[in-house]
């Protein structure tokens, strides 16, 4: 044994001295290995950290560990990262109760949350509509005998103010472009609405005048837009319990048994908030949280420009009194004598790095209290209209109970673009076919006297036998119309009842009925692959065709990101080490050929071939081990620094991937082990060919060569 150790010592000695003797070659080979191993350590540490962060984001926000849906679905489920407004085309699961019971038989399943994902466009109405609606309400109240004259006059002033803003806007368009850019009909409408006689005659026909304003003036205020809402219908209580990162930001969650809607805070700010205010927030946050400067950041400069040119949104909200108040406050704040409030607002929003914080505070302290900051407020009823799976439009009125966010993902668009609603409302909007609904439709059909007819006989069935030219058509439809009126009257009455009753539902409905998919929270995340198999087996046992996918797949394109990055890393590493293998191999071949005499001598004096193999292997492994170790240490150092400093999420997508504003990567022993293993395998492999050359060297070579 001792003899072997001594032999190994001499092998090491020869190997190291040879490496030292060929310093330049060793350094070149070592440099490549050092870089490669450093890349492996840093790369795998970063990818692992992003993977871990992202899994926290995805699992903790909406996907859970596993998503389960009907295996017969046309599409694959993607709860995140889908660019479609609608969710995937999934086959429904008819009875959540059976599904839940089946899934809970799997030992690793902790909780099952019913879900459905869909989307809708919600018309939000523009600011003129809002004012006109207020005026119409006051007029109705006046007609009902209430004394609301002061309110009516104030709203009339506001409308006149709006008309004058729109008129000025139109004049600007004419000046900046050409008169032809202004529609003559729109110009005529504005001229009519600004004429003193128009307002003088308002009281004679207030509702008729309002109709003109609603039809001809309101559309000119182009601040109306649609809200694009993607929402998850779920058991909100179970959702909050299972996804502990979910936090209510404003007001409350939807009470159990109540229908309701929760805006994601991110979306509420992004789409519902007054745009000027939101842009001001974005500029302020970019400066405070990310250390950006307006002076150097083109995006912030664009936002500043938008804010200073798009003050109409604010002006339309102001009545004459508020306009005067704003003027006075802004003149004082800006030290300006300008009398045009819109110009003062434009000046106010032309912020720079020096005044942004002060302006932002002034806006919220002094101006915002007079403005409607959010188009939909908590407590409002939101009318959500969506196309059902069958293609007809279904609408549901839902009260907005509050806003929520996922802790740590507050600024992430990917986590923030999903809103929440109760499962019962979701089912209604999605147009699920249930036995109750089928029975209801049958009842309506029966009451209306509807029957199914063949296409071929349609004409005869609908209009009777083909009439002669002279004979008038038989008035078959008349009776039907009368019946239909009766049905519709009945339905109208029923609808009113339902609107009241529909605000509540039996909580038992959540535990049963139709769902599209379900999130599964597991006890041990390491057992996800096995749990997925168990879930599918449990489904089959319960007579369900279930498909289970892990959080990464369920998150769609987003989840594939880490896999993609991992592949890119592996390919880079593969290329680097393939180059390293060739370079090390060539260097060792050169070294071997230079040492033919030495190798021949060693063979002549009694060195077996395995001694030479060992010698070359040790040389290659020594270079690999030494520089691989140095590279790994360097990589570990870089990861440690990155962990300390944190890698900033430079946009909201990375915010999601990093599960927060910064990624603090961690290093595991596996990262270093992978690097060293690759290095040693490559080093060993690259010494095979030189070793073969060395082993073929005959001891005769020693006799033939000069030193």
């Amino acid at each position: 044994m001792r003899g072997y150790v001594d032999t190994l010592k001499v092998i090491l000695l020869i190997a190291f001295r040879n490496l030292f003797a060929s310093r330049l070659k060793t350094l070149i080979v070592g440099g490549i290995i050092l870089f490669g191993s450093m890349l492996v350590v840093v790369g795998t540490a970063l990818v692992d950290s992003v993977d871990a962060s992202m899994s926290r984001s995805i699992i903790g926000s909406v996907a859970g560990h596993i998503q389960v849906y009907n295996a017969k679905s046309a599409d694959e489920l993607a709860v995140m990262g889908s660019f479609q407004m609608e969710g995937a085309d999934l086959e429904q699961i008819n009875d959540f109760k059976t599904m839940r019971q089946a899934l809970l038989t799997v030992p690793n399943v902790k909780a099952v949350v019913p879900m459905g994902l869909s989307g809708a466009m919600v018309p939000a109405g523009n600011s003129v509509d809002v004012v006109l609606e207020k005026l119409r309400d006051l007029i109705r109240r006046q007609q009902a005998g209430e004394d609301v004259l002061a309110g009516i006059e104030s709203q009339k002033d506001h409308v006149r103010q709006i008309v004058s803003v729109l008129g000025a806007d139109m004049a600007n368009v004419g000046k900046l472009l050409t008169d032809k850019a202004v529609s003559p009909e729109e110009l005529a409408a504005i001229r009519r609405a600004t004429a003193p006689t128009f307002w003088g005659e308002f009281d004679k026909d207030p509702l008729g005048t309002l109709e003109f304003l609603e039809n001809r003036i309101a559309p000119l205020a182009s601040d109306a837009d649609m809200l694009f809402l993607r929402y998850v219908g779920t058991d909100l209580e179970a959702f909050a319990q299972s996804f502990d990162r979910m936090k209510i930001v404003d007001c409350t969650t939807v009470p159990p048994g109540k229908r309701g809607f929760l805006f994601s805070k991110w979306m509420y700010e992004e789409q519902v908030k007054l745009k000027t205010a939101h842009r001001l927030d974005v500029i302020r946050d970019a400066i405070l949280k990310r250390g950006k400067k307006i002076a150097t950041d083109p995006d912030l400069q664009r936002l500043v420009k938008q804010n200073s040119t798009e003050v109409k949104e604010i002006m339309l909200q102001l009545d004459a009194q508020q306009t005067a108040m704003f003027r006075a406050k802004l003149q004082k704040e800006l030290g300006s004598q300008e009398s045009d409030t819109s110009k003062l607002l434009a000046e106010f929003f032309r912020v720079d790095d020096g005044n942004i914080l002060r302006r932002s505070k002034f806006f919220y302290d002094e101006l915002a209290p007079s403005l409607t900051l959010y188009r939909v407020r908590v407590g409002d009823n939101l009318t959500i209209k969506a196309f059902t799976k069958s293609g007809y439009v279904q609408s549901v009125n839902l009260r907005v109970y509050g806003t929520f966010t996922f802790e740590g993902l507050e600024d992430s668009h990917l986590a923030g673009n999903l809103n929440l609603m109760d499962m019962v409302s979701f089912r209604e909007l999605y147009g699920f076919s249930t036995p109750e609904r089928d029975r209801e439709i049958q009842a309506i059909k029966a009451a209306a006297g509807l029957k199914e007819i063949d296409r071929d006989n349609a004409e005869a069935e609908l209009f009777g036998a083909k009439p002669s030219e002279s004979e008038p058509a038989t008035p078959v439809a008349a009776a039907t119309v009368r019946d239909a009126d009766a049905v519709l009257r009945g339905l109208a009455g029923r609808s009113k009842r339902e609107r009241r009753e529909d605000q509540t539902y039996d909580p038992a409905q959540l535990g049963q009925g139709v769902v599209l998919n379900a999130a599964v929270i597991v006890k041990n995340a390491r057992l996800i692959p096995q749990t997925m198999k168990d879930i599918e087996a449990a489904g089959t046992k319960a007579g369900l065709t279930l498909k289970a996918i892990d959080w990464q797949k369920a998150s769609g394109l987003v989840g594939q990101f880490v896999t993609m990055i991992r592949y890119v890393l592996y390919i880079s590493v593969l290329i680097i080490f393939a180059v390293a293998l060739v370079v090390i191999n060539n260097a060792l071949v050169m070294t071997t050929l230079e040492r033919i005499a030495e190798i021949g001598t060693l063979r002549a004096v009694g060195a077996q071939r395995r001694f030479l193999l060992g010698m070359l292997l040790v040389e290659a492994l020594a270079v690999g081990g030494l520089f691989g170790g140095l590279g790994s240490a360097l990589g570990a150092g870089i990861v440690a620094i990155l962990r300390m400093v944190g890698i900033p999420a430079f946009n909201d997508i990375f915010y999601f991937f990093f599960s927060g504003p910064r990624l603090h990567p961690g290093l595991s022993i596996t990262n270093v082990a992978i690097a060293l293993t690759i290095v040693l395998v490559v080093s060993g492999a690259s010494s095979i060919y030189p070793a073969l050359i060395a082993m073929r060297v005959s001891p005769r070579q020693a006799m033939q060569s000069d030193e």
């Binding site: 003899g3 020869i14 001295r17 003797a21 004096v605 009694g606 060195a607 005769r700 006799m703 030193e707």
Partner: protein, 247 residues
């Protein structure tokens, strides 16, 4: 006396492309233990080939080579290597020291390959040989720091460190000046006398024949004669092949 080397009717051919070049043609030779044998002949006479066969670094095309009683033609590559390690010491014309090892380590190397001697014994044997060849003070030097004669002394020490029965020296003085060459031959002769080690060395230098106990003369791959050193010196010149003489 026992034959440490027995070469019987050995032929060795080398193939160069389609040509077969005979290097040895039916050489027979017995060497007894303790001999100090010179193999003489001009370049291309087959001296190195014969030495290679005796040194087990090559195998004959035909014939028998026995080294210390071992028939080499039946031995595997591994066995031949082991035979070299334990039975034969080599001294090369170009010294062939391992450049990255010190003098001490070069001499110790065969012992490390043998893996039989403990560190202390190795040290004792190497130091004794360093004294013996007169380079004790250069023990830590690298070969590149030594003169030609000093390097050959290291080579001699390395050849003797395993206490081989046979030392083969291929033109040991060819790369040395005459004084150094004489010193090296004196040293080899003394070791032959005191250690009873058999030395076989090839040379085409007639001046060194006088050191040999007998001289085997080769020409064109054939053994011309085997004579005493005095006879060889007296005969002088380049021997001719038996076939050439008869013709």
């Amino acid at each position: 006396m026992t034959h440490i080397v027995s070469v019987q009717q050995v032929f060795k051919n080398y193939t160069l492309g389609t040509f077969v070049v005979p290097a040895l043609r039916g050489v027979s030779l017995d060497v007894e233990e303790g001999e100090f044998l010179a193999i003489a002949g001009p370049s291309g006479s087959g001296k190195t080939t014969l030495l290679n066969l005796i040194g087990c670094v090559d195998t004959p095309t035909q014939g028998v080579v026995r080294i210390a009683g071992n028939a080499t033609e039946t031995m595997s590559e591994r066995q031949l290597t082991r035979l070299r390690l334990h039975t034969i010491g080599f001294i090369f014309q170009s010294f062939n020291l391992v450049s990255v090892l010190s003098v001490f380590q070069n001499i110790e190397l065969p012992l490390l390959l043998q893996r039989s001697a403990a560190a202390k014994e190795r040290r004792t044997r190497v130091e004794a040989l360093l004294d013996r060849v007169g380079i004790r003070e250069y023990a830590t030097h690298r070969p590149s720091e030594l003169s030609g004669g000093q390097r050959q002394r290291v080579a001699i020490a390395r050849a003797l460190v395993t206490r081989p029965q046979l030392v083969l020296a291929d033109e040991p003085t060819a790369n040395l000046d005459s004084v150094t060459g004489t010193n090296i031959l004196d040293l080899m002769k003394e070791l032959n006398r005191t250690e009873k080690t058999t030395f076989i060395f090839s040379t085409h230098d007639a001046r060194v024949w006088s050191y040999a106990s007998s001289v085997v003369r080769l020409a064109d791959g054939q053994l011309v004669d085997r004579v005493s050193a005095e006879e060889a010196v007296r005969a002088g010149g380049v021997p001719t092949a038996p076939a050439a003489r008869t013709s």
